[in-house]
Amino acid sequence: MTRTIFAALAAWMLCVCTAMAQDSPIQQLLQEHRTLIEKSSRKSIEPAIDALRDSGLPEAQAVLEQWQAKALWQRKADKLFFFGEKIDSKTYRLLDIATGEIEGEFPKKELKQLKPNSGIRSMIGAALVQFQLMADDPAKRVEALDAIQRDPAPEHLTALKGAIETEVDPEIRARKERLVRLLTITYGRDDAERISAIESFSGDLGVDARGALNPLVATTRTAAAAIPDDANVAKRLKPGSEDFSEAEAYALLVSSNLAPAHISASEKRMALQDNIEGGSVGGVPVAQLDTDEARERAYVALAEAGTVPATATEAEVAAALASHIFFDRYAEPSEAITDAAAKALGSINTQVGLNQTADLALDALSLASIYFLAAIGLAITFGVMGVINMAHGEFIMMGAYTGYVVQQVIPDYTVSILVALPLAFAVTFAAGVAMERLVIRWLYNRPLETLLATFGISIALQQLAKNIFGTQARPLTSPAWLDGALVLNDVVSISYIRIAIFVLALIFLGVFLFIMKRTRLGLEVRAVTQNPRMAASMGINPDRINMLTFGLGSGIAGIAGVAIGLYAKVTSELGSDYIVQSFMTVVVGGVGNIWGTLLGATMIGFLQKGIEWMNPSNTLAAQTYMIIFIIIFIQFRPRGIIALKGRAAGD
């Protein structure tokens, strides 16, 4: 009894379900195109896929996905479509395509699997792209755009075009429009459409634009008896010209099977070696084979005897070259398009060049500010006091290590930098004052010996740093807000840390000028610089002023050390890497004048970047040439760019 009731219930349920399945709009749509789907031919399937895509039904995407994955099944009994799930090799579970409810389990022989071929699958894929492009989630849409950009295909173009109208996000819309233009370059319907797309990218700095245009102007080097009619020739080449030697031309002929291979010297040697008979080869004694002519003679003799393949003679090579035409051939057959692409690329390259110049100028400016920072302390001690401080580089190093130690104590990078800057100043100020009191003031009348004594201090300090901190580089991490770079476009960018150093250099210039021109200390420093005895008789204590000036210069070196340590690794040799450049900056700029130091740093920074640009692989060479340039520059302006005149110039 119960069994009967269950059976009846089941039958009833089945009926209801079937009715529901048949009624759902997506099933109706599929049934409408059933014949096309069953036929499953690439040529005729398009209306069915289009109908699904444009139906606007929520289930359409799922159906397409399952169809593409070969998981769409048809029940032979009533020709209805279902999603199929494998239970075992004989039995499949069918799910309703509209509701996802379980229809039941069926033996495989009652079902038919839809097996779209690869052509159809890619058509379905293109239709699916459209769904992704119109997805509600913006992240999904961007993901779809990325996927298209990575691996573009002709069918994406239509999908993209269809997805622009409904796009609400202006940024994504702009990207879609750009991508449509990019795809049009390659997959546009006709030449006119492609050319207008190509021209729209004229002067565009994007890497993607260059990426789309470059394949159009790619050429292959070809040799042929005559130029084929359909070839889009970029350039005809003459063998023996500067960029196309005769050897290259002949090698091209050989590789295109248009001429017999030329036998190289080492192959000849091997051939001769294989054919030694009784102490001679081809009638030439082995002992005589130490010249090219003798080997040639022996080889020709062997070739005449037929033991080795004959090599092409000079005359044959010349004849082969004369009877063929060499040219660079575009892969793209349309000349109008290659012309347009070449023109667009030309204007892009001009733009890129201009922007690279701007980028280089920014780089040079940041290098200049680093040199300025490193040299400004030196400009004070050397320029104002006339004291050579070879340990200046070690003060820079000391500042950098101070920054490192502070970071070990204070984990927050922002706070630690803010603490490190004044602390580095204090530490190096103290070191500078101590050095002035203990060593330098005894040597004011002996400049060369100051140089040597401070050098002794420099090697002692360097080794001390090595003993304390070890030889490996220590990191000085910049705060997170200094990470990254200010990107203006695909070519021009500058890291925030370099901007910060530039700003720091400007601040120092301001501070220095303020101290020198507006404070009592500055007035006294200038007085002592010009005439210590007179200054002393006016009630200024020259000893105290010298001490403070030296401390100030050293302190600034410490702060520069923190700044330099932020982008270079902190090692005990950090300072000595900058010392020669710093001296150059001061000497080139002109001793005793802060503006001279600024000019000197700018000149050296721009010069070094300029030379590096000419020979980008080799920064060592750039430094070499820069130093040579400076040596020559000193010839013409021995006292620097801004030379002191009159009594202030001394000697």
């Binding site: 030694i276 060593v439 002794g456 150059m584 080799n618 000193i634």
Partner: protein, 410 residues
Amino acid sequence: MSRSFFARNPSALIFIACLALFTLAVTVMSESIGSGAISTSFVKTLGKTLCLCLVAIAMDLIWGFAGILSLGHMAFFGLGGYMIGMWLMYARTEAIVTASMANAEIPPTDQEIIDAIGTQIFGVVGSSDFPTIWAFADSLTLQLLMVVLVPGLLALVFGWLAFRSRVTGVYLSILTQAMTLALALYLFQNDSGLRGNNGLSGLQNLPGADAIPQADISLWFFWASALALGLGYLLAAWVVSGKFGSVIRGIRDDEARVRFLGYSVEGYKLFVFTLTAVIAGIAGALYYPQAGIINPAEIAPIASIYLAVWVAIGGRGRLYGAVIGAAVVSLLSTWFTGGQAPSIPLGFYTIDWVDWWQVLLGISFVLVTLFAPKGIGGLFDYFTGRLPPNRHGADLGPDSGSLQEQEAEQ
């Protein structure tokens, strides 16, 4: 001028006698023909030290006598080493390549031999072609000529440019340092043609002398170095003893005054600069076959500054001072950095001299500059009784002439 050169320069005679005695002693104790009390490697160290003494004499001439603190003489020293190293490396590689190719069934052509040598030498920098600067490398005579000519010409051109524009004092020092740095950076490049930072190696093996033990070769080089040092000392003593010496000392003490007296200051300076560069080049050419390897790091500015340190510690303005300084400091350096010096345990910390020698050197250098401007050589004045009158105030050192500090301030 009736008295002989040695009568006027007794120190030269004493020095030569000491050098001869020293050479004889080392020979007698060497492994090669003597008792073997001195190991071959120490003979090499002593030979190298003699070369360093020679370059220190050059430095003393230019700095102690002409007053030009050149921080570039180790560059000339290195250049001399490079020039002789090119021949040594080429000739030895040629011998090896020829020997290995002689076994081939077909005798090699000349071009093949040269190509094989090129591959052997320049393989490390990813090249196999000979750069043009190696054009004379196959000839010992020409390459020996280059030992003299290359440093000499570089010094001539650089000196002419620098002295002509009246660059003096610390500016000149910095400029010479820049020249040294530029040269070192240039040589560090792989495409400079001198094997980049690999430098030239295997120089201790003389071509064609494989059968001769290193003990003999090192002794020969020791003799050659001693001879060169002796000749160099005599040359330097002769240069500074006559009227020429008086003029260059005059330039050191007051350049403007000498110029106003009608002497061509630039010419004198240029001559001394070039001469000392040549001496440095020769010293380098003797040094590096004993060291066995030369690379651009040897030319770095720091080396030239150490040279100044030796001369300053030994005592500027007297030739034997430079020799003593170079010998003492470089031998002490070898002793301390070689790990032979005993560590000093302080209880809480152990002073390991490998780490602390540089600190000691730096500090003692400062102390010598401050308190003993005459250096170690100044001690001899006590023996000879040549003490200056007490003129109150500290000595200003040779750069400021004979003035004492208090006199200079007036």
